[in-house]
């Protein structure tokens, strides 16, 4: 039994009163193609934070795949099991989503980022988060001086709506199935839209205002950020958070938005994970150039099985997106 292999090492980050198990993916150096080194001095590290998915491997082990590929192009990557996740010794908070939405994991994530920077003499870190993990990433970025960038996958900026009574749901459910009900819904949507315009595109009452405020603080500093969206399901009349957060980022903001067609919410399907990998590699090398000894590298080889007959990979840039991801869906899917 060993705790370090050629490309990975198992860590216990034990500083500041909390033990966090982590997997470290050693960065490959350009001057020795087949070997990885633990000397990461001066490099930028990439830290993966937990979404609602129970372990640091994430849905379909997608985080393992991305961390491997990022390390292969010269950036050390770290996947953490924050308290309550995976092999951490702690139980999850009773109301996990609420805990995350308040930014309660930021202090631990930030402390562990500093621990990693110190331990590996890194020049800084980039936080990666999917869905609820993206919420933690934004809060963490705000409290981590060493944070040099953000990688957000299907973030959300709202809080769950209070559930209505069963009687009300039953009543509105039945009405909405009638012709009159459909017309009423259309009218409601138009009214909502009109009211929103009158209010100057203000977010709805269930917006996560502390998070939006935190985002504004982070984004307006020009922190390089790449934000991925999956097409997902559409909801009529929902507030356009993407448009809003891009506006909040202002002129100084350095935010790239990519929508990955055919990706699922967790980006764990082949189309999603491959497109994210390609875009992240390109974004990393342009924003955080590696040292001169790096040279040209081989990409991580794609799946050996030919799946092109089933899935098509498409990606495009998008500056505006009209979708939001409801928290209920996050809980179902591991975001």
């Amino acid at each position: 039994m060993i705790d370090s292999i050629e490309k990975r090492e198992l860590l216990l980050l034990d500083g500041l009163g909390v033990i966090v198990p982590a997997t470290y993916h050693k960065a490959r150096r350009g001057d020795s193609r087949s070997q990885t080194h633990s000397d990461e001095s001066g490099r930028v590290g990439v830290i993966f934070l937990n979404s609602l998915s129970p372990t640091k491997a994430a849905t379909g082990d997608s985080a393992v795949y991305w961390a491997d590929s990022i390390a292969q192009i010269g950036y050390p990557a770290f996947r953490l099991d924050l308290p309550g996740f995976g092999d951490s010794y702690d139980d999850p908070p009773a109301r996990l989503l609420e805990y995350i939405n308040r930014g309660s994991y930021a202090s631990v994530a930030s402390a562990k980022a500093r621990e990693i920077v110190e331990r590996f003499s890194l020049s800084g870190v980039i936080f990666v988060g999917l869905c609820a993990g993206a919420v933690t990433a934004i809060y963490s970025a705000a409290s981590t001086q060493e944070c040099k960038g953000l990688l957000l996958l299907d973030p959300y900026f709202h809080l769950p709506l209070k559930s209505r009574s069963k009687l009300w749901q039953k009543l509105t459910g039945r009405i909405s199935r009638t012709d009159l009900g459909i017309e009423f819904e259309k009218l409601y949507d138009r009214l909502t839209e009109a009211l929103r315009r009158l209010a100057g595109d203000a977010p709805p009452s269930n917006a996560n205002f502390p998070l939006l405020s935190c985002w504004r603080d982070v984004a307006t500093t020009g922190l390089p950020t790449i934000l991925f969206r999956a097409p997902g399901i559409r909801h009529r009349g929902e507030f356009d958070y993407l448009k809003h957060v891009l506006k909040l980022a202002g002129r100084k903001g350095d935010v790239v938005v990519k929508t990955i067609e055919e990706a699922n919410h967790t980006f764990s399907n082949r189309a999603g994970r491959d497109a994210v990998r390609q875009q992240v590699e390109s974004w990393l090398t342009s924003h955080f150039p590696r040292d001169g000894e790096w040279g040209k590298v081989d990409r991580v080889s794609p799946s050996s099985t030919d799946d092109s007959q089933i899935y098509q990979l498409k990606s495009r840039s998008a500056s505006v997106d009209t979708r939001t991801v409801p928290a209920t869906r996050s809980a179902m899917e591991g975001g």
Partner: protein
């Protein structure tokens, strides 16, 4: 500052890699001093590993707190272990069970070794046990064949897919089955199932003579079909962000282990 009991408990769990056939299995040993027995946990496969993780880890801790040393791991190509899922076969995963059971048994041969399998892991554990490995066998909800296990995962996943995905991503389970039976790989919960894996799954089942082993060779076996109250440990699992108290389940099966192995244990540590 970390409290000493917290630190002691945490540091008694050792995560490490176990080399096997050019890959590395991720393992966690719940180490105890002077163990009265050892248990190898053979967990559920791929996506189910994900859902069942919390209650499975808690079961390991429950046993470790009662002086039973536990080894749990990720299959080759799954979770923290290295390798590509789509390149693995049931034979590879059976090798994983045998290799780890042998390693665990050599740590102190004088105490009994228990194989404990969950869902498809139950079939793999049962087959190793049939091959002569282990002194007792505990099975939680093993499917009739591995195909039954894969099929139920696919049905559950395809159902979710219909609910939450965009229209272009929607396909009924029957369509996936048709594709994989025609030789195409399909993706389920981000794992790529090959047609070879699907074909092999039909013939992978629990050995027929397990009951004989229990009666004639005095190697105890318990097979428990777990109910939905134990979700997300077993299907149907939809959410996994809640902490469920499964102490009733743990207590029942720990009592069985204590009885059949005549363990000198007097309850919770």
């Amino acid at each position: 500052m970390l409290s000493q009991p917290y630190l002691d408990k945490r540091l008694s769990e050792r995560a490490a890699y176990f080399p096997i056939s050019g890959e590395h299995l991720y393992t966690v040993l719940h180490e105890v001093q002077n163990p009265v027995a050892r248990v190898l946990l053979v967990g559920s496969l791929a996506a189910e590993r994900h859902y069942s993780y919390h209650p499975w880890v808690r079961w390991a801790r429950y046993l470790a707190a009662r002086q039973i040393e536990v080894l749990r791991y990720d299959y080759r190509g799954v979770g923290e272990s290295t390798g590509r899922f789509e390149e693995m076969t049931f034979a590879d995963w059976a090798d994983d069970v045998n290799a780890l059971a042998s390693w665990l048994a050599t740590r102190s041969p004088q105490v009994p070794l228990v194989l404990h399998g969950l869902e498809i892991g139950g079939i793999l554990a049962g087959r190793s046990f049939d091959g002569g490995i282990g002194d007792a066998l505990l099975l939680w909800s093993p499917p009739a064949t591995a195909n039954h296990g894969l099929r139920s995962s696919l049905l559950l996943w395809a159902g979710l897919e219909q609910l939450w995905e965009s229209s272009e991503n929607r396909r009924p389970a029957s369509e996936y089955i048709r594709l994989v039976e025609q030789g195409f790989p399909i993706e389920v919960y981000g794992y790529q199932w090959t047609s070879q894996l699907w074909r092999e799954s039909f013939s992978l089942a629990l050995p027929n003579d397990l009951n004989d082993l229990a009666t004639t060779r005095h190697r105890p076996i318990k097979l428990a079909k777990l109910g939905k109250e134990t979700s997300p440990l077993v299907k149907p699992h939809v959410t996994y962000d809640e902490v469920k108290d499964l102490s009733f389940l743990y207590a029942e099966h720990f009592a069985w282990l204590s009885e059949v192995l005549a363990l000198p244990v007097d309850g919770a540590a």
